[in-house]
Symmetry: C2
DNA sequence: AGGAGCATGTAACTAGTTACATGATTGT
DNA sequence: ACAATCATGTAACTAGTTACATGCTCCT
């Protein structure tokens, strides 16, 4: 149910249309929660019925009209209440790990190719996060209080990507594929 | 759809009942894929209809009878085919990160408590993985070929837990809670 | 007497995915 | 002419969760 809460955080930071939210979920928020636009519209409708958010129609010229959603007082207290609930263990679902574990029963070359692709993805994502960090938080000792959460999550993203990258390197090395990988 | 494939890997390693699979999903497989017993029974039934697995009733004394599932030839080729498909980007869903990002809108002490709990969970899981590694793979240079996938996944688990632990420490330090955390 | 472990499920529900639909504007 | 971006959705489906049901054995 935390898609709701991810949307509330995003709207607490800044009001937005469903479309805007979908783009944020492709970028910064998507760093820890992925959601499709269809799912977002569905959940927004429910949240509006529950009065966690309100919407206002905004006419635009040269572009389709949009509905801008804003968090309500009830939404803010729901979000605060959420932060006070204990967090259960994270639900893991990694296709990549399933494939890796299937190594003795599968296509070794294809798996190596997957590892290489994944390594490249981690490297690209890491570069993107590091660019964001350098741009928005040039001085890590002086992060504004209202950005502390976002900063810490970004730091987590950087760590996760770096960790994933190193894991890929270890895998390639174990499989004796590190020379080709380094090319 | 990769729960199916996670089950196939598990059955390729060794035939098992639904109950056994559920326990494996709590332990080794659960390291990268979580599933409840209800979901497992449901998927097993579908997989049997699709002839990816077969079941055999086994009577037991002093215990309820069980159905032992085994992978079929079709199951093995499905698993091999799966390893050859490209892996999409991982779907992330982290309640913890949502909470952390909600820091400016939430209950700071409760969030700090969450971080501490999570740190302890990572430490416990890490210890468990390291114990498994020491026990089953005392010589990392000589991992048998049929265990290479399992070993690499375990290595990934160790890296992920260590990374998560370090992230928690960084968060506590940023929040000025590291002294109390170290106690 | 009560709880944990073994063992398999059903029923009702919520969450999320995939495919499709519409229609204007801007850029190649 | 075609694709991309803006913008919002519906419909049909699959996956996963939560709650409940049953019953036997072994341990405290």
């Amino acid at each position: 149910m935390a898609l709701e809460h991810a949307i509330l955080v995003s709207l607490a930071e800044r009001s937005a249309s469903g479309y805007d939210l979908a783009r944020r979920f492709d970028a910064s928020i998507g760093n820890f929660w992925k959601a499709s636009h269809q799912q977002i519209y569905k959940v927004l409708a429910r949240m509006e019925a529950d009065e966690l958010v309100t919407s206002e129609a905004v006419a635009q010229e040269g572009r389709p009209d949009k509905k801008v959603y804003a968090i309500t007082a009830a939404g803010r207290s729901e979000l605060a209440a959420f932060t006070a609930t204990p967090t259960g263990p994270e639900v893991l679902r990694s296709d990549f790990a399933v494939k890796l574990r299937a190594l003795p029963f599968g296509d070794r070359d294809a798996i190596v190719a997957s590892v290489r692709r994944r390594r490249a993805d981690h490297a690209a994502q890491l570069a993107e996060y590091e660019a964001s960090a350098a741009r928005f938080y040039p001085d890590p000792e002086a992060v504004p209080a209202d950005h502390l959460g976002a900063w810490l999550v970004l730091r987590g993203g950087i760590r996760a990507e770096r960790g994933g990258l190193e894991w890929c390197d270890e895998i390639l090395q174990s499989l004796g594929e590190d020379r080709r990988a380094a090319r």
